[in-house]
């Protein structure tokens, strides 16, 4: 992070400038569609030897197709491929079709690093859509910084990072957490919280932020318990008893993967039906994807706080869901991360077109301020800190596996990966 010091000062200056002039760049998607490659000679748009020809540009897709994380990452791969196909159908980027090289991270962090290096060094891809877990991102980060690659990272995550070589298309922790806590406090009158999570950095950091917010910024509220279980743990009866003992208003659950299934099934079996809202179950880790494994009937009535739900009823989203199902089958569901992954190629396209170049340095420079009005989640904008301004929503889980949106922030929430007062 040594290179960051000088940059953050610039960022501060330019933020206001971009905010002011932001609208001028709105709807980069609606730039003339028939940009012709001939207008953008390869020698000019690619001065750093990337895999760009007169007709094509090659990017990388780097997710786990095998191993334990394949469950989660499949949706992201599908979304990215859909976006690429749609972009190509519109004429590509600077008149060039996007081709992609897909690599399997195999749920193994050294493999991620190895494949990232392959994509950047051997394949010279112009950008990479990829990674899911924090660990995989941390593993590839030095590779991207060393070889000056450009990564679009889709997952909501713990924050505490701001790499010049990454655009974070998912929410960082404060964006996702604070609005939901305030909502449950203000509309449901919740005062006491039991924090629960799988034992790794994202749940721990998120719960830390949640605790700080509850204790310092929410009057009269308290945390009555905080607990972590190993990844893959399947026995939650003990913690359910502890929850009973503490009688919290809210169970704040950041359980991931297979543990999720076990947790919700055992919760309901123990007589704590989320639908009864005694206590309220609020999660930031269960998207529509996870519900498929849990079973809608087992989680119905829980609340999830994130930026996107498949049931959002705006035109962008209806079109997106339709296209997604056409491409990948009718019985597919789309979660928050999948949507964020879908944004990656579009944001990159917008940045490239704004920069008029595929060069990473120019794309990086062009990225802050990029806006998408066509995003399924609605309007988003890239912040100087490479995260997205986005709305945060609360959804109530239904028995059919979908969320019903019950709350949405009025304004875009500013991303704040290094939140003051939450450290």
């Amino acid at each position: 992070m040594s290179d960051q010091n000088s940059e953050s000062e610039n960022n501060h200056l330019s933020r206001r400038a971009v905010l002011a002039g932001g609208t001028a760049l709105t709807a980069s998607l609606f730039l003339p569609k028939n940009l012709r490659a001939a207008d953008f000679p390869t020698a000019e748009v690619n001065t750093t030897g990337l895999a760009v020809t007169d007709d094509t540009v090659t990017i990388g897709i780097l997710h786990s197709v095998t191993g334990t994380m394949a469950i989660s990452e499949t949706g992201s791969v599908q979304a990215e491929k859909l976006a690429i196909e749609q972009i190509n159908a519109q004429g590509g980027i600077l008149g060039r079709k996007i081709e992609y090289i897909q690599e399997d991270g195999a749920s193994d962090w050294p493999t991620f690093a190895e494949k990232a290096r392959k994509l950047l060094v051997n394949d010279k891809v112009a950008s990479v859509m990829g990674c899911w877990t924090s660990a995989s991102r941390k593993a590839v980060l030095p590779v991207f910084e060393q070889h000056n690659g450009f990564l679009y990272y889709p997952t909501f995550y713990e924050g505490l990072e701001e790499s010049p070589n990454v655009i974070y298309t998912g929410q960082e922790a404060t964006q996702q957490i604070i609005a939901g806590l305030d909502w449950v406090n203000q509309t449901k009158g919740a005062k006491s919280f039991y924090l629960l999570g799988s034992d790794y950095i994202w749940p721990r950091t998120s719960n830390k932020i949640a605790r700080k917010h509850i204790e310092n910024f929410m009057e009269g509220c308290e945390v009555v318990g905080e607990e972590y279980y190993p990844l893959g743990h399947t026995q939650f009866n003990s913690v359910i008893n502890k929850i009973r003992l503490r009688k919290p208003d809210v169970i704040y659950a950041i359980v991931v993967g297979g543990s999720n299934v076990a947790f919700y099934k055992q919760l309901i079996a123990a007589g704590i039906d989320p639908a009864a809202e005694k206590p309220i179950v609020l999660t930031i880790s269960v998207t529509e994807d996870e519900i498929r494994g849990i079973g809608g009937e087992n989680i119905a009535g829980s609340y999830a706080c994130m930026k996107y739900f498949q049931s959002l009823e705006n035109e962008n989203n209806l079109a997106f869901v339709k296209a997604f199902k056409e491409m990948w089958g009718d019985d597919i569901v789309i979660g928050d991360v999948t949507q964020a992954a879908y944004l990656g190629p579009w944001l990159w396209k917008a940045a490239v077109e704004k920069a008029g170049s595929f060069d990473v340095d120019k794309v990086r420079e062009a990225s802050p301020g990029i806006e998408l009005t066509t995003a399924p989640e609605g309007y988003v904008k890239v912040h100087e800190n490479h995260h997205l301004w986005s709305k945060t929503r609360v959804g109530r889980a239904l028995a059919d596996g979908q969320y019903e949106v019950v709350f949405e922030t009025a304004e875009l929430v500013e991303p704040d990966p290094f939140p003051e007062g939450y450290q």
Partner: protein
């Protein structure tokens, strides 16, 4: 920690925590029984045990879909059918695996370990290709979810009771088979002296195959039952491997009673520690204690002192 609570509340909590321990105990028993038969009686390390369980879970998933689509009226009872089918499917796969792999390796226990690990990878990939990488949601009949309120404060999860009843009945069934049936006598005879058993006319080959099949079948039933409390995905089986082996080894291989006793002590230790510590630390401590005791007493809790 307990200052703010009335005695009755505390009593209720401890009762429920005791019950949570019993559920964990039942889960361990179900996981370990199949392995105890295979490892204890045949000395075979089946690293694909978890995958046999998951096969049972997938069979349950298919059965639930089948009933949901064609016999919605009978949906409430599908689970029993599913468990039976799970037993058959896992058992049949077990018979096949014994025939194709295991029987060639009886003299090389460490090699069975590697071969069955390979088998587990292959099964995982097959599950992934057939059922997809994502977890599947198994719909449980309504009557099996929810809880029975015993008193105002004490609620008992029905699926917990179901798992317990299942654990007890399967234990009894295995016990009866092992100690009352001809097959059981043959298995024990082979365990004690393979050559002699063969010499007195026991078909050791078939008995081995059957034993392996039954062990796998029991794993399938366990997997079927676990759809109520856990997840069903291609790699879910790996979650069970370490726990299962420790339960069996800790109990003393070869002793069914030992397996049950060890499941009991490990589950109680874990559930008590989980109550007072964070879940992760409880797990580490439980494992460390078990491994520590195994180092002092490698033969496990229960084992016969035999004349060499």
């Amino acid at each position: 920690m307990f200052a703010d609570y009335s005695m009755s509340e505390l009593g209720a909590i401890f009762a429920m925590q005791g019950f949570a321990g019993l559920i964990l105990f039942s889960v361990f028993v179900l996981m370990a029984l199949g392995l105890a038969i295979i490892f204890g009686q045949m000395g075979v390390i089946n690293m694909a045990h978890g995958e046999f369980m998951i096969l049972g879970a997938y069979v349950t998933y298919l059965t639930s879909n089948l009933f949901g689509d064609y016999m919605p009226a009978l949906f409430g009872t599908y689970f029993f059918v599913a468990m039976f089918l799970a037993f058959l499917a896992s058992g049949a796969l077990g018979l096949f695996v014994e025939w194709a792999l295991i029987r060639h390796l009886y003299k090389r226990p460490l090699d069975t370990l590697l071969a069955t690990w390979g088998l587990s990878l292959i099964l995982q990939q097959i599950y992934r290709s057939v059922f997809g990488a994502r977890e599947v949601g198994v719909t449980i009949p309504d009557w099996m979810m929810g809880s029975l309120p015993l008193t105002d404060l004490i609620e008992v999860p029905i699926n917990g009771i179901f798992v317990m009843v299942l654990a007890v009945s399967i234990s009894i069934a295995v016990y009866v088979m092992m100690f009352r049936s001809t097959w059981g006598k043959q298995v024990r005879a082979i365990n004690q002296n393979r050559v002699m058993a063969g010499a007195v006319g026991i078909n050791t080959e078939w008995t081995d195959r059957l034993t392996f099949g039954i062990g796998c079948g029991v794993a399938g039933v366990a997997g079927s039952a676990f759809t109520m409390i856990g997840s069903t995905g291609p790699t879910a089986g790996q979650l069970y491997i370490v726990d299962t082996f420790l339960v069996v080894v800790f109990g003393g291989a070869g002793s069914l009673l030992g397996t049950i006793a060890s499941a009991f002590s490990i589950s109680q230790a874990q559930s008590i520690m989980e109550f007072f510590l964070s879940g992760s630390m409880a797990k580490v401590l439980t494992l460390l204690v078990v491994v520590g005791i195994l180092m002092i007493r490698p033969q496990g809790l229960f084992s016969l002192k035999l004349r060499k």
